[in-house]
Symmetry: C2
Subunit: 200 residues, 2 copies
């Protein structure tokens, strides 16, 4: 059965991006090491975690700022699937939660824009995912909304061994936090991969 | 050689205590599960981690608010050492970083008050520790000061599988964060025990 999985990288001090992150600044001041584990592909543990997640992904949900980065000039490339080592043909559909549909999309065809909120986006993604899972890949705001709405089945945090000091926090203003049940932790040189069942 | 180890429990969303923590409210709103791993003593992994740390501790450094809690009516008991299963005779000396020496101390004899800052407190603790280690057990403010001053050799975070939502964050306002090198991660049911070498 389709699970809804929030899956994101975070620094030990809780940031998903540094100060001034954006399409031209990447992950902002001091933020790049947060994603090192996924980019460096140095460790077989990291590669396996990435490949397993990609293979299980039937559809992706992301927020508008994340879209602006991945569709921006330094974002995903045309000949790349979801996950650097995969083919574009394998790329799952991406549902972008946004207030306004952008006028121009570089990687047109990959994205569907959903203007009626996180619940609608996840419902459409679940329909598209078939037997596979829905991955909410961020940013922080979309994950917070999905957690607050009780729509997340599993939370995966790739905890990078880095202190960023300032930027965008993953967890902020969750009025009624859900309970978590730890599932697994795997240590790799550039991240501790943690997963939790979310008890809504 | 004596290492200076900052050792603290933190929720997945970065809190060391919930809202309204204090001598009469314990760890505050939703904060108690942050320390469950150390209190419940259900898992042999947790017990071993605690016992190993206690055995290696030559002296403890803590902040004033932490002192107010451990010396308060619901704090440490007289017939208890450092760590619930240990004898008072084994209890290491505790150096409390404070602006003002308290007039009354319940567990007199256990605490030395240091009014000239974190560096002085750690220096005195290191002297008292002999060949063993100095443990900075919190709170967040003292650990932040020690990290900022470049005085921490190792950072241990016991990451509890809980979202607290509001309270006192471990990492806040670190202007120039030090680099970290991951040492070890051990999963137990109530905490992922993470340790990092701090590269000052």
């Amino acid at each position: 059965m389709t699970k809804v999985i929030a899956d994101i990288s975070m620094s030990l001090d809780g940031y998903v991006a540094g100060r001034d992150a954006g399409p031209d600044q990447g992950l902002g001041v001091g933020g790049e090491p947060i994603h090192d584990w996924a980019v460096a592909e140095e460790s077989p543990v990291d590669t396996e975690i990435l490949d397993t997640a990609v293979a299980a992904t039937g559809a992706v949900v992301m927020g508008r700022r994340t879209f602006d980065i991945v569709d921006g000039p330094h974002g995903w490339s045309e000949d790349m699937g979801y996950g650097a080592s995969h083919e574009p043909a394998d790329a799952p559909p991406v549902f972008v939660v946004t207030h306004e549909v952008p006028e121009k999309v570089r990687l047109a065809g990959r994205f569907t824009f959903v203007t009626d909120g996180i619940e609608a986006a996840i419902a459409r993604a679940a329909e598209a995912a078939g037997e596979r899972d829905v991955f909410i890949m961020g940013g922080a705001s979309v994950i917070q909304q999905a957690l607050a709405a009780g729509l997340v089945d599993e939370l995966r945090v790739h905890l990078a061994p880095v202190l960023v000091g300032d930027g965008k926090r993953l967890f902020e203003d969750i009025a009624t936090p859900p309970r978590l049940e730890p599932l697994e932790v795997t240590q790799a040189p550039r991240a501790a991969h943690l997963s939790y069942r979310v008890i809504n």
